[in-house]
Symmetry: C2
Amino acid sequence: MYVILVYDVEQKRTAKMLKLCRRYLHWIQNSVFEGEITEAKLQELIHRARRLIDPETDSLIIFTSRHERWLDKQIIGKEKSSTDNFL
Amino acid sequence: MYVILVYDVEQKRTAKMLKLCRRYLHWIQNSVFEGEITEAKLQELIHRARRLIDPETDSLIIFTSRHERWLDKQIIGKEKSSTDNFL
């Protein structure tokens, strides 16, 4: 399945969250990731993310689509991932 | 069409960007919006956003889908929009 993941976590957890998400998906902007992932891997990612976040303050939004072709992507301005992908 | 919009702009432009996007879409997280919008309205939003951003530093990613039903949305942690929608 195709996934878009966006997180909003407190500053002190951003590095861990970034690292976790990059193990599963492609980083495309600040706190935005996308990619093809299996249902099992997505559940693993969600499970790990739940252990990382504080549900009182942090949030994670995951959009899933069975096919990437059902979505078009357009980037206005700077394409982050092409230049800043080396954290 | 159904749209997910995510922006990453410099601090000094966030308030203007937030205000602009909220005129067209629903705010669901920090810098993430979604909603049904016509192609004409989306083009208007993009046009206005282009005048606001600095393309050297800021970016705007827009995912579009012809039907909202092609996407599932899952929120882990805090549901921002339900409580913080009164900026």
